[in-house]
Amino acid sequence: MGTFIQLVIDGLSSGSIYAALALAIVLVNQATGLINFAQGGMAVLSAYIAWQLTAWSVPLLLAILISIAASFVIGAIVERFLIRKFEGGDPDTAVVVTIGLLTLITGICAWIWSYNNKLFPSLFPLETISIAGAVVSVRSIGTILAIVAIMVLLQLLFLGTKLGLALRAVAINPQSAAFSGMPVGRLLMVGWGLAASLGAVAGALVAPQLTLTPNMMDSALVYALAAVIIGGLTSPIGVVIAAWLIGVLENLAAVYVPLIGHDLKIAVPFIMIFVVLIVRPQGLFGRKAVVRV
């Protein structure tokens, strides 16, 4: 039983990181209608920025906050000067653009910081506490709480502020939003910036566990995309629940299903996708898209 609880909490912790990345993907998709495959790469870049700052002996928390702010600016710049040209065009081309961006950012990280693993200090103490006979690391609980707090903040931003209202309006109908005088271009930049910041949080939380490498987020991106498919692109809450589900199930499968084990646990979301796609193609919580001809 102790192992089980431990596995579930660790699963929720890694699920939270997938959730952050998945939410960033949903945020971008809602605003600009495309899937940003570079979201993970951008998160790695943010983590490297934070690492570089700590290497210059900036305190860790401050370094992460600066990297989050920097990521906001980077995300906005990427939207303005790269993605803007392809918005509203062929979505496949836009996807290829984000894949080019992923290659470019990974290449830049590798070029500046090399492919060698870098140790990223953890924001939370490495101690463990015991809950109901289970040994649980403080880091896992801290990660979960941090992500939940950020989700509450995001929800407040979207539902309680004027900026959030404007962002939602642009997401629903950019043309009408423009007609009613909203600066659509700037709002899209804000949307991309927010997504990049969210990715930065995910990067800073996952880096201590995985150690920092340019390809660190590749598998996290797969989990996040799986969460997006399973949860449904239109439902942020569904995406978060799906991400937690993936995190917990893959952890349990790695230990209790010998056929899968730790090396193949990345196949778990893939199997889940198969099941969900066959039973419920619009995702667990998604709405069925109706196309007007």
């Binding site: 979505p91 496949d92 894949i99 290659t103 995309l225 193609p281 001809v293």
Partner: protein
């Protein structure tokens, strides 16, 4: 182009072009140095992989990030079959069929969700494939990989190994290109095009987008398997590294840079895949990824049609510069595609790059 096209339409010119290509394919391996032969053979391998990607992405408009997985699968099947001393023809058939069946199964699930779901599902293929290949070490040799040497030149030919390998690649890749060209120019190609253009319209015309997406994906996987077989012919070694995610991305970049939805573009894409790392390594090995990403983005910005659209772009620009007089008349003649009005004029255009204009004409 049209004067060229007009000349190209004459049957004897087409046959002459085909004859020249065939003669070149037979003679070149004999006279080129070994390095050029292996490079050409590798271009052939990846051109087939890019061709498969083009069927699903360029022609049918479904983003696939997993093409390298099918190449790797074909390579593993080939290596395993050769190690078990199976008949080489059987190995080839299996190397085509197994990836095709796997592709079919994946597509059956992935094509159910419209739009970008195929992209999001196929990204998992290489990422799951690498640990899977390591795990099934009984068949795949684990991290060390498998090597299979079955393409030494038979003695009666008197050829060197590299020449023999290039002949095999030319033959199989040539047939793959020919069959794919026929596929995308016929009834299926038109169905793919309408599915790419507008799925709702395709459905209203009685063309099931789902079925054609699955078909395109299966064909792409089959061609991936073929390229995997050719990979073993040329490189003779495969490991989990073969099907890494990065290679899949490069394959996709090659397709876009060569030219999406173009047969000749696939060939250019294969050349890009093989030659760019060689060139960027000369500049700075650390910069390879940066340069590849930058090249991809630049191509998307300035040349969305890929390298294959370059001649068209130049022609349009030249037509714009030559404002009036005889030049305009010539441009007008070429724009309206009057057949064979100026045979001597067109002849000197076509003799210059015969193979290229031949293939381009087929694409458009």
């Amino acid at each position: 182009m049209s004067t060229a096209t007009a000349v190209m339409r004459k049957p004897w010119v087409r046959w002459a072009v085909i004859a020249i290509v065939v003669v070149l394919a037979i003679v070149l391996p004999l006279v080129l140095p070994e390095f050029a032969n292996t490079t050409l053979a590798r271009i052939g391998v990846f051109a087939v992989a890019v061709l498969g990607l083009n069927v699903v992405m360029g022609y049918t408009g479904q983003v696939s990030l997993g093409q390298i997985f099918f190449l790797g699968l074909g390579a593993y099947v080939t290596a395993y079959g050769v190690q078990q001393d199976w008949n080489i023809v059987l190995v080839f058939v299996l190397a085509c069929l197994i990836p095709a069946v796997v592709g079919l199964l994946v597509a059956l699930a992935a094509a159910r969700l419209g739009g970008l779901a195929i992209a999001m599902v196929t990204i998992a293929l290489p990422i799951v494939g690498v640990p899977l290949a390591k795990r099934l070490s009984e068949f795949t040799g684990g991290s060390q990989g498998l090597s299979a040497r079955f393409t030494a030149a038979p003695e009666w030919t008197g050829l060197y190994d590299d020449q023999w390998q290039l002949y095999i690649v030319l033959l199989i890749a040539g047939i793959s290109f020919l069959l794919t060209r026929n596929l995308v120019r016929g009834k299926y190609g038109r169905a793919f095009a309408i599915v790419k253009g507008n799925e709702a319209v395709a459905g209203s015309m009685g063309i099931s987008p789902y079925r054609y997406k699955v078909l395109a994906f299966t064909v792409a996987s089959l061609l991936g398997g073929v390229s995997g077989f050719l990979y073993m012919v040329v490189i003779q070694y495969t490991s989990p590294e073969t099907l890494s995610f990065g290679h899949s991305i490069t394959l996709l970049a090659s397709m876009v840079i060569g030219g999406a939805g173009s047969i000749l573009g696939s060939l250019l894409g294969g050349a890009y895949y093989v030659l760019t790392p060689q060139l960027t390594n000369l500049i700075d090995p650390g910069l390879t990824a940066v340069l590849q990403g930058a090249i991809l983005l630049i191509v998307l910005f300035v040349l969305p049609g890929g390298l294959v659209s370059l001649p068209r772009l130049f022609r349009r620009r030249r037509g714009r510069e030559q404002g009036g007089g005889a030049a305009a008349a010539k441009a007008a003649a070429s724009a309206t595609a009057v057949p064979s009005t100026s045979a001597p004029d067109g002849a000197d255009v076509t003799t210059h790059p015969p193979t290229e204009s031949e293939e381009r004409r087929q694409d458009t």
